[in-house]
Amino acid sequence: MNIDYLIFKIVLIASIFGLSLLVAMYATLMERKVAAFFQDRYGPNRAGKWGLLQPLADGIKLFFKEEFVPSSADKLLYILGPSLSMFVALLTSAVIPWGTPVVIGGKQYALQVADVNVGILYIFAVVSIGVYGIMIGGWASNNKYALLGAIRASSQMISYELALGISIVTLVMTAQSLSILEIVEQQKGMHWNAFYQPLGFIIFTICAFAETNRAPFDLPECETELIGGYHTEYSSMKLGFYLFAEYINMFISGTLISALFLGGYDFPFINDMGFSQNTLAAVHFLVFFCKISFVVFVFMWIRWTLPRFRYDQLMRLGWKKLIPIACINLVITGVVVLLTQ
């Protein structure tokens, strides 16, 4: 391993880490702005131009809030909960291919921290740990609402991860690979998986909503019933970590949906425009980022359109609708793959 390769990877990791945090910060502003626009309002516009400094103000406010730990809480787990959520949320971005390789000094560098050949499995493993942050936090708070939120979160995750997994298996069957980079490369030239796997795409998107605890599946934290759910007892930056983790998760889900189903950094005619390789990498990254932003916008759009599911409706949708449909989709895809080979 060369030293310049190592330096490039460290720089890449640092920039992706920074980017995730920055995106999460501005996703909060975007959420508030989008919510406001959907409700015929202007949203935050006091701090800076168009409220651009609002996330900073929110962050400073969170830092100066009292660090409250309930006297009956399990101190260690209480701190571990939000830390784990944040840690896991930041882990997933490691296997995402952000663009085609760049050339620096005659050498090629891939815009991906690690091209793990089981990238999809890695993401699933990591995302599944994510629910532990919520569960531990909710349990350690020693509060009935927090506990209810945590239980809801864990059962919801289990129900939706199955359908999510099956829809991914379908995708892997057609792609014949578990590497995300390879799946993205296969979709070049508008052969997006969303066109070939519309059912899988819809199932994956619905499950992504559920996995990120976003409306209409935000039962773990629903304010009206559970006064905040698992983070009822949290304040200051610990609460900030939970909220941040949620926004990072949303960003990562957007990234996954774009990478697996919307062609990643692919865009029509982009390879025929005659860009040099570095420009192409930059354009690819920009295209990818636009796709992610659009998916995140759709996440918010759905949130401000649909009301929250009732708990039994949530379970029925997960177990009785999505899983059978995903299975049928799996069987049909299997037959088609077998016949076309």
Binding site: D40, R41, W301
Partner: protein
């Protein structure tokens, strides 16, 4: 008995397959929210932009001066008596001969305070005033950080001496009001 024509008959019909898919309905809902995304906003950017007020809006009070710059208020206390919220207090003082250019009547209000938190902006003080001294204007009472700042004294209530800085209340002085105030058969106009 039918009270309005807005009642609708409840229908419990089975949903069709397409309806049970929910996707058309969700898509329709998303289109509705999207149309609001680009719609004209209902709120305004308040301190920079202000809504149009009625000319006879009942906002912050003003204590008027007459055309020679003398305070019209004679501290009779009728406004305080009329006030349903008991927001007005005043201390009366007798005018000295040297103060004739300051006060119109031989008695004047040494202090005159309105508690803007108590005031309900009903305008009864204005109706009660026999000297046309107090009027409500279309100015808004400012927001403050502490309660005591809301007790407005004469420094904030009496209008400036300069003629061009005087507060225009002609819109509230409709002919009927003027006529009514001239009516000496009314006890409080005497």
């Amino acid at each position: 008995m039918q009270l309005t024509n807005r009642s609708k008959i409840v229908s419990n019909k089975k949903m069709t397959f397409v309806e049970r898919l929910y996707f058309p309905a969700i898509f329709k809902g998303m289109m509705i929210t999207l149309s609001h995304f680009f719609a004209k906003k209902a709120t305004i950017d308040y301190p920079k932009e202000k809504r149009e007020f009625s000319e006879i809006y009942r906002g912050q009070h003003v204590l008027k001066r007459d055309d020679q710059g003398r305070e019209r208020c004679t501290a009779c206390g009728l406004c305080a008596l009329a006030c349903p919220a008991e927001a007005i207090t005043m201390v009366a003082e007798e005018r000295l001969p040297s103060e004739e250019h300051l006060y119109r009547e031989e008695k004047y209000a040494k202090t005159y305070e309105i508690n803007m938190l108590r005031c309900i902006f009903c305008g009864l003080c204005e109706e009660a005033c026999p000297k046309e001294a107090i009027f409500l204007t279309k100015r808004i009472v400012d927001a403050e950080y502490s309660r005591d700042k809301f007790i407005y004294g004469k420094d904030k209530l009496v209008e400036p001496l300069e003629l061009d800085l005087r507060i225009d209340i002609s819109k509230r002085q409709i002919p009927e009001v003027l006529e009514f105030k001239k009516d000496k058969t009314q006890r409080h106009n005497k």
